[in-house]
Subunit: 198 residues, 2 copies
DNA sequence: TAAAATAATACGACTGGTTGTCTCATTTTG
DNA sequence: CAAAATGAGACAACCAGTCGTATTATTTTA
């Protein structure tokens, strides 16, 4: 039985459109109707798939982060022997993409942490899980770079990964209001190119 | 003529309540009525004071950051000879306050950068100005610490101030979803206590 | 200075539109 | 046939913003 269910297609479409719209307009700034119209799915179906807008948002959060985890893991797996180079390549690719989309949106996690991080328990949880798993991948990458001698070892990889994620989130916010990827490049250079260097 | 106009009192009350509510619920998550009811001011008056919700939000942003600038400048002025200690004391006070308020809200600038940073031009501008002036005060403090020999001088104070502001914004977001000031303390220790040290 | 004219502010009911949620008859599916 | 999925619409609550009128200040005139 390898039948592709329409329900799953619809769910996927809704999640994709949800990611795109929530990223640009935020949770409260995006109405369900807007998403529903975009993928041509009636409200009744929506409430059959997801129980509420809040649950939907929580699923969107997990759906959003997954490709980033896959991509970063991919870069790390490919480049044997130079994890630091893989991290930098991953960032370069991300920055290029943000320039292509004219800095719109930024990071959905960062935006939603600020907007609903302390009003929706469900979303808070999803955000926590997603952000931690993203941090974990960075920790692995930095740890590998440490054993390769390109990253300093007097600080734990975990500490640096946390600092990195924080600074990157801040840089993404500043990118949005400065309409420029300069904050991102500066952040990358300051940490990966300087402070974290062996 | 030192008459205190009711209009100015009302404006001030609206801005204060606006800061409090926007910080917790965000821009789209907070209705004007909610603010108006809290300070008992009718709709018509509001639109007489501010032209729109968007303009109001932009004024809220400037109104929000001012006390922080004053406070940090105050700490820097007082502690002659040890700017780094002043920065740390300022942070300690801020962290204590956030613990008192149970991590609610975080930083209004960070939250609004994410939510309306690329949808409202007026707010984007206000955010940019406010964040830059905050960064500037940090630059002054770090620069003073450099000449006092407590902060490394192989990086510019401006670079470190930018990195600091970014990392701090990220740490505030993570505080919200982890419901703990641990990310803040970790951030303070990692940068002021380690990477920035002379 | 007193009266009249003008301007500024205060007010809240109201508008048109949108929100998230839910109901229910119909269709599809196992 | 029974259960699940679908789709269109109903619903009350809420939204930002408007408008005509009432009140208060300020300025002009005599």
């Amino acid at each position: 039985m390898e039948k592709i269910k329409q329900k799953d297609i619809n769910r996927e479409n809704l999640l994709n459109e949800g990611v795109a719209l929530l990223m640009q307009q935020g949770y409260h700034g995006t109405g369900l109707k807007e998403i529903l119209d975009a993928v041509k799915i009636p409200k009744g179906s929506f409430y059959n798939y997801f129980g509420s807008k809040e649950n939907f948002a929580a699923e969107i959060i997990s759906h959003y982060i997954e490709p980033y985890l896959v991509q970063l893991n991919g870069y790390l797996d490919e480049s044997e022997g130079n994890a630091l180079a893989a991290l930098n390549r991953y960032l370069q690719e991300g920055i290029a993409e943000l320039e292509r989309t004219k800095f719109k949106g930024g990071c959905l996690l960062g935006n939603l942490m600020g907007e609903v991080g302390d009003t929706s328990e469900i979303c808070r949880n999803a955000l926590q899980v997603s952000l931690n798993s993203y941090r974990d991948v960075w920790e692995i990458g930095l740890s590998r770079a440490q054993s390769e001698g390109t990253i300093r070892s007097d600080k734990t990889a975990r500490e640096m990964a946390d600092l990195w994620v924080n600074a990157w989130q801040g840089a993404l916010l500043r990118m949005k209001i400065e309409q420029s990827t300069a904050p991102l490049k500066q952040c990358q250079q300051a940490l990966l190119g300087d402070f974290f260097k062996a």
